[in-house]
């Protein structure tokens, strides 16, 4: 692409729209806070001092850049060149830290004293608790009661890091209800508190801001692929719940010829099975019934148990730039074990979705270079897998 041409993933419109998706559908109480956040982010993102501060903490604390790893055994077995972007090696064990360090630095710059966050699998909660500990802010994490149960280890990690964890018992008691409860907290505490949203979702400016904080994944990966292989990959594959790790890696390749694949769980296929709807501040594809009641997602992975998806994914799907296939829990369990046994890497169950699609589709990708975002490590899932595999 020429320099003058605008990227497909540039700034959203003034109203926070990516095509017909996005927007700012929040209670009136939160409108000024969203406007203030947008202005603060815009100002900080253009300020070399803020950028340098963030770069430094990403390098010296989070451990960036994360490397790429070629999976020689698995690649040979599948007949493809399989390359992993190793976000699992970041401090706290997932890509979530990129966004959290950005948001907490920004919150501090805005004079906020407290952050609230929602979490599904617990990775964003752990990252938020970590950043809050590092930067001396108080932190409260809302987590669905079902997830508190299946991710007990991460609950304990958050508490060790000094955060308060509140189990949410309303609705489906998973990620979507944790988002509701975090928003309710923010409505009541908006003057002192920043809502550290964990994915490329929610009201404008979150989908845009969180993407910019994760852009580092795609920028690094593109450079690393060019350096290592002299060309862009043919496929870029990532799992999609809200879609932050996928947006991060897609942002580096959206203007190349690479096919972009966002893999959704069969039981939480917002793009695959949803219709446009409005929840959590955004217009996007959403699993809902005939009256617009939001349906519950069901997936083996707590991090992908979300009935919606970030609005920019809906946009990329609507223009045909990215594809959003689904995989089943059974395929995911297979892929999880396959990566552990052939590469010595235990992936997060979320990322095992991406691998499950790759293994299934490998016969159609023979000889191709496939870049997969390994967005998190699987230690948190070992207890759950122990029960499943017996």
């Amino acid at each position: 692409m020429s320099i003058s041409e605008q990227s497909i993933m540039s700034e959203p419109s003034e109203a926070g729209r990516f095509g017909e998706f996005g927007g700012r559908f929040v209670p009136e109480t939160l409108v000024p806070a969203c406007q203030e956040l947008e202005a603060s982010f815009r100002e900080a993102w253009a300020d070399p001092v803020f950028r340098a501060e963030l770069d430094q903490v990403l390098r010296e604390y989070a451990g960036r850049p994360s490397m790429i790893t070629e999976c020689y055994q698995l690649g040979a077995k599948l007949g493809i060149r399989l390359v992993l972007k190793r976000e699992d090696l970041n401090h706290t064990g997932s890509h979530k830290i990129n966004n959290v360090l950005g948001q907490v630095l920004l919150a501090k710059r805005m004079g906020k004293k407290r952050i609230v966050a929602e979490t599904g699998a617990g990775q964003h909660g752990v990252a938020s608790a970590t950043a809050a500990a590092l930067m001396g802010m108080s932190c409260k994490v809302y987590m669905g009661a079902v997830d508190v149960e299946r991710q007990a280890l991460n609950v304990f990690r958050m508490k060790l890091l000094g955060a308060e964890v509140e189990a949410v018992h309303s609705g489906s008691r998973t990620l979507k209800d944790a988002v509701n409860e975090a928003m309710r907290d923010w409505v009541a505490s908006v003057e002192s508190t920043h809502y550290c949203l964990g994915s490329v979702m929610g009201p404008h400016p979150y989908p845009w801001m969180v993407r910019e904080f994760h852009r580092v994944i795609g920028s690094e990966a593109r450079e690393q692929c060019l350096e290592r292989y002299g060309k862009d990959p043919d496929f870029v594959v990532a799992c999609v719940g809200g879609g932050s790790n996928a947006i991060g890696i897609f942002s580096g390749f959206v203007d190349t010829d690479a096919r972009l694949i966002g893999v959704e769980p069969a039981g939480g296929a917002a793009v695959g099975r949803g219709q446009p709807g409005v929840v959590h501040g955004m217009r996007s594809y959403l699993m809902q019934d005939e009256y617009g009641q939001v349906q519950e997602a069901h997936s083996i992975s707590a991090g992908l148990d979300y009935p919606g998806v970030g609005p920019e994914h809906s946009y990329l799907a609507s223009i045909g730039r990215a594809e959003y296939p689904t995989v089943t829990d059974a395929e995911v369990i297979e892929a999880f074990q396959l990566m552990a046994k052939t590469e010595g890497i235990i992936p997060a169950l979320e990322c095992a979705h991406a691998l499950a699609w790759i293994t299934r589709e490998a016969p159609k990708m023979q000889g191709k270079t496939v870049l997969m975002n390994l967005s998190g490590r699987g230690d948190k899932d070992v207890g759950q897998m122990m029960e499943i595999l017996g």
């Binding site: 979507k176 409505v187 939001v294």
Partner: protein
């Protein structure tokens, strides 16, 4: 506002206000066991408008009581269609408005939803997750059929924002009483009177305080500044605990208190 033709709801409420009456708006969750009887009881005991909630799976502006009521109604199979059918059978002579989250509207389609409401005898709509900037398409559809869109004003709004909110409000302005979600509180928040007073200075549209007005004493306090009050969680809790009779008794108590000032 002089160029705007008043909606029937707003004309009714202005006339009551100008006659010195404080406006009492009880809220009832549609589809909750006993809800139609509760509306009749509220109407018979001094309500000026009744707000009917259409339960939604993800009610982000609601606290524990209305969340529970919504969940119970949904579990009993309530839908917007079944509730509007129930509304048609009510035969009460006070204006009825709905409170619903925007996805209910979006999913049905703006024009279709607006006409469904009008056909059921509803005169206004409160959509708490549809702020001013996103409200254009819905408001056009509502205006076209004479339905009042009741805008919310929040304590966090800067001074320049409030006149724009008031200019778009039809029927009344819903003055959010506190920073937070619906639910009963031990005291009326200071923000309740502060915001209502800011609004009264800039608009002639009736200003009604809702969220966090929890009993008759707080209602009296709020009505010192505002033109009226919404009673939400306190009504819904009584409906869940004591049925329609408890709602009627409570509405009568609040009515008497605000009439006495």
């Amino acid at each position: 506002m002089s160029a705007t033709v008043l909606t029937s709801l707003e004309a009714t409420l202005r006339a009551k206000r100008d006659a010195g009456r404080k406006i009492l708006v009880p809220y009832v969750t549609g589809g909750l066991k006993g809800w139609t009887d509760a509306i009749r009881a509220a109407a018979a005991n001094g309500a000026d408008v009744i707000e009917i909630g259409l339960p939604f799976s993800d009610p982000v502006m609601d606290g524990p009581i209305i969340q529970e009521a919504s969940q119970r109604a949904l579990d009993d199979g309530a839908t917007p269609v079944s509730i509007l059918e129930g509304v048609r059978t009510l035969d009460v002579d006070v204006p009825l408005v709905v409170m619903c989250y925007y996805n209910t509207v979006h999913h049905a389609g703006h024009e279709r939803f607006a006409s469904q409401l009008v056909q059921a005898g509803i005169t206004g709509a409160i959509i708490p997750d549809l702020p001013l900037e996103e409200s254009g398409p819905w408001c056009s559809a509502a205006d076209a059929v004479g339905l009042s869109t009741i805008m919310l004003a929040a304590p966090t709004a800067p001074d320049e924002r409030l006149p724009r909110v008031c200019a778009r409000a039809r029927g009344f302005v819903y003055s959010v009483g506190l920073l937070g979600v619906t639910g009963e509180r031990t005291e009326l928040a200071a923000t309740a009177s502060q915001l209502a007073s800011r609004l009264k200075k800039i608009t002639d549209v009736p200003v009604i305080i809702g969220v966090g007005v929890s009993n008759s004493a707080q209602a009296v306090e709020a009505c010192k500044v505002a033109d009226g009050i919404v009673q939400g969680a306190s009504v819904v809790r009584r409906l869940m605990e004591g049925g329609a009779d408890a709602v009627g008794a409570y509405v009568a108590e609040v009515r008497a208190a605000i009439d006495a000032g």
